[in-house]
């Protein structure tokens, strides 16, 4: 549906998007995840023809955006991060204008406003300049939804929305998914990605560092997850033992031994510790949240750091057990 091939976009010597390639399948909800300045918005703007890539190409249903932007744009609708409308016009006038540009009937406006719980009767004569930022963003979302297109591209859609707006947005996106629409959105709100996306691409400094399903990313993380072992008899010797049996990282923290290992080595390490005299009270491997996975990719924070600082690991999110021999 959307093919991004080796796209590079440079701003004053800085590679905002650096050789990114990805494909978004038809009917899929796809998230671009990354910190501020990671290139998410730039990539979306390249897709929408607002920016011209320095190299690479983007195709939408086989239509190259660079060579036929109008045809490509007729398949997509876009919600920018910040919307702006002429302040003197009313909400109804703005919606009517965009509906006319898209060739949509005026009945469509009422339907979209109902979907977003925008009270058109109350808003119809209200100048845009008097709206709150949350309401303004909802009007922007309404403009994006006016177009009956197969692809919706949303740049940080929840950023300026109030809680009711976020709730409505999630409901609307769920409806669009049911209808088989393709949704591509960027976000740094991990809970949005976790609940909405089928697949996620992680961008850091313009580079694509991961592209998988949310579950796939978690699995990847589990492969080198951290295990925390509570010991009755903590001893530096157990650190050495863990290293010897395959742990890539190990250390003592109070009465706990923390080690990072492949999932396949975990049991062997625990058995070796026990054989070496360690008296294990409990152990657990935290179920990684998307946040941990994400921070691991952006290189700023890891689950290990969180544990080092003694952050609480929720019991529900762990794979816990007694000593392996039990």
């Amino acid at each position: 549906m959307i093919e991004v091939e080796h796209v590079v976009k440079v701003f004053e010597g800085v590679r905002a998007v650096d050789d990114v390639s990805l494909r978004v399948r038809a009917g899929e909800t796809f998230a671009l995840l990354g910190p501020n300045g990671s290139g998410k918005t730039t990539l979306l703007k390249c897709l929408m023809g607002l920016l011209k890539p320095n190299s690479g190409c983007i195709r939408v249903r086989g239509i190259e955006v660079g060579s036929d932007p109008r045809a490509a744009l007729s398949l997509m609708s876009y919600l920018p991060q910040r919307v702006a409308f002429p302040e003197g016009l009313t909400v109804r006038e703005v919606l009517a204008f965009y509906a006319r540009l898209r060739g949509e009937r005026s009945e469509r406006i009422a339907r979209v406003c109902h979907q977003l719980r925008l009270d058109l009767e109350e808003l119809s004569n209200r100048p845009i300049g008097t709206l709150s930022s949350g309401l303004l963003q909802r009007v922007g979302l309404a403009v994006a939804l006016l177009a009956e297109v197969p692809i919706f591209v949303l740049d940080e859609p929840t950023v300026s929305l109030d809680p009711e707006g976020v709730r409505r947005l999630r409901a609307v996106l769920a409806e669009l998914r049911e209808k088989g629409r393709t949704i591509l959105f960027s976000s740094h709100v991990l809970s949005d990605v976790e609940t909405l996306a089928d697949r996620v691409a992680v961008l850091v400094h313009g580079k694509l560092v991961a592209l998988e399903s949310v579950e796939g990313l978690r699995d990847h993380w589990r492969q080198n997850a951290l295990t925390r072992v509570h010991l009755w008899n903590p001893n530096e010797r157990f650190v050495e033992l863990a290293h010897r049996h395959g742990a890539s990282e190990a250390r003592l923290l109070g009465s706990s031994l923390l080690f990072r290992s492949k999932a396949s080595d975990r049991l062997a390490i625990l058995r070796a510790l026990e054989a070496g005299g360690a008296r294990i009270e409990t152990f657990w491997t935290p179920e990684p949240s998307l946040e941990e996975v994400y921070w691991n990719h952006v290189g700023k924070r890891s689950a290990g750091d969180a544990l080092d600082r003694g952050d609480r690991v929720p019991e529900s999110a762990t794979t816990a057990g007694r000593a392996p021999s039990e």
Binding site: M48, L50, R70, A71, E87, G88, L89, L101, R102
Partner: protein
């Protein structure tokens, strides 16, 4: 309704709603009435002056004010849009349509402001001194609109060519100074450097390099006063084989000043990052 018409009506609605049109209609109307009412005061005569004298005074004033207003409006309409108007640029419409639609919308806004301002003033003048010379007054309004077209297009070009809004306004002000104040000084300076026959030709040709001069000459021709431009005016009439054709050439020249910058602007916008 076509895309350009939709964009133009939207643009016009924006300017009417933010009261810009009302303010300029008032300014134009008030100025025309004030000139008519007090124009004879310097000659020690009390009372309204007729359309002919009022038009001559208004023309001189319009040659300063209309370019400035139009440049600012043209610049503002795109310099703001490029940063905040992403929603407009992602609609499946050609970027060329955006330029022509906005230009048309701005033109309609200025037409409403000048039409209602000068129209109301014209009615007041006609009620006081009669309608003699009203055709010249109406032709003056037409000239003011042509001048507005040229400078709106230049404003749009400047806004699209400039990366940042403040820079765009800087260039727009420079253009105003250049065309309204410096251009004629530059041409006069050049005439001192060349022999007289070439100098006359230079002055004649230089008219087409400045929309303000085109409208000035064309406007004074409608006031039956082409000789005010001396040898260059005579050469102009002679070259085009009569006053009528010279007038047509001046008007076509001004319209081209409205079309060419807009055409360049749409070419730039098509290739540009938003």
């Amino acid at each position: 309704m076509g895309t350009i018409a939709t964009l133009a009506l939207f643009e016009m609605k924006v300017h009417i709603r933010n009261r810009w049109v009302l303010v300029f209609a008032f300014v134009f109307g008030f100025t025309a009435v004030a000139i008519a009412a007090f124009g004879l005061a310097t000659a020690g005569v009390a009372g309204f002056q007729g359309f002919a004298r009022t038009t001559a005074s208004l023309l001189n004033l319009a040659l300063y004010v209309i370019p400035l207003v139009s440049l600012m409006m043209g610049t503002m309409s795109f310099a703001g849009e490029k940063n905040a108007g992403e929603l407009l640029f992602v609609q499946p419409i050609a970027r060329e349509s955006l330029v022509w639609g906005k230009l048309l919308g701005l033109m309609l806004s200025i037409a409403i402001a000048t039409g209602s301002g000068f129209g109301l003033a014209g009615m007041i003048i006609a009620a006081r001194v009669g309608s003699a010379g009203v055709t010249r007054y109406l032709l003056f309004v037409g000239h003011a609109l042509l001048l507005a077209l040229a400078f709106l297009a230049l404003g749009i070009l400047v806004a699209i060519a400039s990366a940042r809004k403040p820079r765009a306004f800087g260039y727009a002000l420079f253009l105003w100074f250049f065309f309204v104040l410096f251009y004629d000084l530059l041409v006069i300076g050049l005439t001192f450097l060349v022999p007289e026959p070439i100098a006359n030709r230079l002055v004649f040709l230089s008219l087409f390099g400045n929309p303000v001069d085109l409208v000035r000459v064309s406007g004074f021709m409608t006031l039956d006063n082409p000789t005010i431009f001396g040898a260059a005016g005579v050469m102009l009439v002679k070259f085009f084989g009569g006053e009528g054709w010279a007038h047509v050439a001046l008007i076509v020249g001004t319209i081209l000043w409205g079309i060419l910058p807009a055409w360049l602007a749409q070419g730039l916008l098509r290739r540009q990052d938003i």
